[in-house]
Symmetry: C2
Amino acid sequence: MSSAKAKFLEEDGCRVRVVHLDRVEQARKKTISENELDRLALTYKVMGDPNRLKIVMALRNVEMCVCDLAAFLGLSESAVSHQLRRLKDLALVKKRRDGQVIYYALDDEHVSQLLNIGLEHVRE
Amino acid sequence: MSSAKAKFLEEDGCRVRVVHLDRVEQARKKTISENELDRLALTYKVMGDPNRLKIVMALRNVEMCVCDLAAFLGLSESAVSHQLRRLKDLALVKKRRDGQVIYYALDDEHVSQLLNIGLEHVRE
DNA sequence: TGATTATATGAACATATGATCAGATATTAC
DNA sequence: GTAATATCTGATCATATGTTCATATAATCA
């Protein structure tokens, strides 16, 4: 005995089926900006690659340089550098130069929080 | 004046450059299982698509059915159904049937926590 | 029962992504 | 200055991903 009954919207010249028009409207009102949403999506996506995730997981403990990470991951230094750039673009890691060596570390507390909550979720 | 000085490991018959052997070893000791890591990566990756992210963002407020989400996103119901399956596979959303209509909602508190922290990070 | 509604699924195709390779840049040592 | 070290970057290519389309399943209604 469902109370759901589909209505139909004319949208962009197309007939769109909707069961709860109010909920769709409410969702539309509460959306964040496209810009923020894209950046948020990119943030998760960048954490969503196993090798990049290994990098940030490793950086939870101590800062590391490209060649250490390459040795740890079993990847070329070039590949690691490419991935670090993506992580840096989204402010997931930061770098610090000491002579020839560049040390990478997590950018801020949000990153480890994301990791901790994600781990809790996966482990339950 | 850096104290960093590269050593070389013989690994799998290949010469691997390492600056901080201790850090690499420590990182190796502290790794989580491949299984957990892959699942964690998948979790972020699934949140990392703009359309799927729009879905979970919308579900923060109220549960919705496939056709509502399709209308909200401007996508086909089939496309939404495919994405909901991926979200469900990783326990990011759960579903509840009421007659013909299936309502989707966020699976647990971890999901909204991940969204909140991600948003904080993106906004700072 | 058969017809309708709501959602799910499999195959296919265009686009996006990550590793590799070659070469560029930046810092230090001589 | 040149040589060596550490990292970065652009192009390429094989693989992965998301949408579409056609079709299948599941529940309700006449």
